[in-house]
């Protein structure tokens, strides 16, 4: 019971904030019933997926200050495990999900152990290298479809198949990922007050001092890396069932890793709301700019030019993100 109290403990937030969150939660719950376009539905599903990725990244990158740019490899492990198991052995999603998660976490230990000897830029760049090596291996490995990728045959299942998570209507995917989102959200709400999170904050501000106070920085980072990995690979498995067509470029590319980190940074690192705000802004922005401009002839690339310009503005002018601005305003009000 003690742990339940901690999970639902929002005492740090102001009352109007909780009220707004409740309204937003209700709106998301009722959204599929209200009239909507299928485009906005898929945008919101993407938003949930990327806020979960960013929440996972935020544990290691935001609380711990370790800028990891290789999260996409864990996404890939999750997605490929689910896809391979479903195609070859017809395994239910709920079985392949924990298998994929275990594989991803095991891999995170394998690379995390040497990686966390490094700090700062060195860590960031080495994490990219690890991710690229794995991507090249998947690109050449015929068991996972090599560079052609994999496709889950949907005709084998009659929709709605809750066991294999194969649906023809997006509404089912919406509620599945919404439940995942809520679980992730409450987990992070517990995590941010856990012993590990406080250790991570100490490591972020001064690793030597943290070490001298009896924290084992490397072990704390490896544990947190496993948490981040579990988040990312879970949504990776969902990605496999939702997209159904998996290629290494969509799941394991550097762009995905950077986008995950970018969302957490844009929203505000090391906070509960940061990743959600970041995904809530960047995902609709990216998808809608692409929808408006991407298809026009002669303007190929313009959508990403605008997107890149926004990234550059944010990182040059407000690197602490939107949550940083909110906290600044709130502190001024208190003073």
């Amino acid at each position: 019971m003690e742990i339940l109290k901690k999970i639902f403990d929002f005492s740090g937030s102001p009352r109007y904030g909780l009220f707004a969150t409740g309204i937003a939660g209700l709106a998301f719950l009722l959204f599929p019933i209200l009239p909507h376009s299928s485009f906005s539905m898929s945008t919101i599903i993407q938003f949930f997926m990327f806020s979960l990725y960013a929440m996972g990244w935020n544990t290691i990158g935001g609380f711990g200050g370790q800028v990891d740019l290789g999260q996409a490899q864990f996404l890939g492990i999750g997605a490929y495990t689910t896809a391979v198991m479903m195609i070859r052995w017809n395994t239910p999603f709920w079985v392949s999900l924990p298998v994929g998660m275990s594989l991803a976490v095991a891999w995170s230990f394998v690379i995390g152990y040497p990686l966390f000897r490094l700090r700062g830029h060195y860590f960031a760049i080495a994490s990219i290298a690890a991710s690229l090596v794995l991507k090249d291996i998947f690109d050449a490995w015929s068991f996972v479809g090599a560079s052609r990728g994999l496709e889950i045959p949907t005709t084998r299942y009659s929709s709605p198949d809750f066991l294999h998570l194969i649906f023809t209507q997006d509404i089912y995917y919406y509620y599945v990922i919404f439940v995942f989102f809520l679980l992730g959200f409450f987990f992070i709400n517990w995590f941010r007050r856990s012993r590990l999170a406080f250790q991570l904050r100490a490591i972020k501000s001064n690793e030597e001092a943290a070490g001298s106070l009896g924290i084992n920085p490397r072990w704390a980072k490896i544990k947190t890396y496993a948490i981040a990995t579990a988040f990312v690979s879970t949504v990776g498995s969902f990605h496999a069932c939702y997209i159904k067509n998996i290629e290494t470029d969509d799941t394991m590319g550097l762009d995905i890793s950077i986008m995950i980190a970018l969302m957490a940074m844009l929203g505000g690192m090391g906070s509960l709301w940061g990743p959600i705000i970041g995904a809530g802004i960047l995902i609709p922005l990216k998808i809608y700019i692409k929808e408006w401009l991407g298809a026009r002839a002669g303007l190929v690339g313009l959508d990403l030019v605008i997107y890149a310009a926004i990234i550059m503005f944010i990182s040059a002018l407000e690197p602490r993100g939107i949550w940083g601005i909110v906290e600044k305003v709130r502190r001024r009000k208190l003073a």
Partner: protein, 304 residues
């Protein structure tokens, strides 16, 4: 035997160009501890500059090197004053993502202006000429010229950094920014100059590659990763390190040749059965990961 020597020579030649690609990145990192994701896109712009100059005027792409150098210098300086200057105030994650934004911007501007088609040029005077130096080794003239010019540019930059007053001021800024400012060195201008030199060297490398490497807006990322690998191996901020690591990376990209040679010598059929060509760059990433883990300073690094 000819596989072995052929791979060795090809690896060393391309390695010299790779070293020039990485030179700018290592200078910039040494000066201001910022990792530039847009480095490969500078190279792509150098390639397009040489291509367009060569196509419109009809001269050899190698003669377009000065134009590429000027474009790279101006681009580097304007990126510094327009963008990187503000980025340097922020935390590391903002710097990483900011230069990633710059990379996306340059890549997609190129896509917007030049389209996504592969472009090549075959009008150069050196194209389709080759030297046969015996033992079955044939060196294409374009690659030899690129390697020689790359080494010359590299040596020129090394002289600039080590034998001039300006270079000494830049090295002083890299070693101790505050101390350099107290000695009257305009550190801000030195930073901008590092970006200018970094941009110019990498666009020159791009112009050298145009004769035998097709140009697309997406060519940059591969070179960014190669340059990261070289800089990490040679040591962040080390210029001689970049040269030797460039040669090493050049040899690693040719390792499918060595693999085939070993398979041939030992007569093992399982080795011959595996094609290593697709893992050409995986070897580079792997070596880079291992060196980062074993010796984060790099082989010749002075920044710990």
């Amino acid at each position: 035997m000819d596989i072995l020597t052929g791979s060795l020579v090809a690896g060393l030649l391309i390695g010299m160009v790779f070293a020039l690609v990485a030179l700018g990145l290592t200078i910039i990192f040494g000066m201001m501890d910022i990792v530039n994701f847009a480095h490969g896109e500078f190279l792509m712009i150098g390639m397009y500059t040489a291509l367009i100059v060569a196509q419109t005027t009809g001269i050899d792409p190698l003669a377009a090197i000065p134009a590429a150098a000027v474009v790279g210098f101006v681009l580097g300086i304007s990126c510094y004053y327009g963008f990187v200057k503000y980025l340097l105030r922020g935390p590391m994650v903002a710097q990483l993502l900011g230069t990633f934004g710059l990379m996306l911007l340059l890549r997609n501007l190129a896509l917007l202006f030049f389209g996504s088609a592969d472009r090549t040029i075959h009008s150069g005077i050196l194209v389709n000429r080759a030297f046969d130096i015996g033992m079955g080794i044939i060196i294409p003239a374009t690659k030899l010229a690129a390697a020689v010019l790359a080494v010359l540019s590299f040596a020129g930059t090394w002289l600039l950094m080590n034998r001039t007053r300006l270079g000494r001021a830049m090295r002083a800024t890299a070693l101790n920014r505050q101390g350099a400012r107290y000695m009257g060195i305009p550190t801000e201008r030195m930073n901008a100059l590092a970006w200018g030199i970094g941009g110019a060297t990498v666009t020159v490398a791009g112009a050298l590659l145009v004769n035998f490497w097709s140009v697309t807006p997406f060519v940059g990322l591969l070179f960014t990763m190669i340059a990261f690998a070289i800089v990490a191996m040679g040591g962040f901020g080390s210029i001689p390190g970049a040269f030797f690591a460039g040669l090493l990376v050049g040899l690693i990209t040719e390792f499918p040749g060595f693999w085939d040679f070993t398979a041939y010598i030992t007569g093992s059929s399982w080795m011959a059965g595996i094609s290593m060509t697709q893992f050409k760059y995986t070897g580079v990433y792997l070596a880079y990961f291992l060196i980062m883990i074993v010796r984060p300073r790099g082989l010749f690094g002075w920044k710990s």
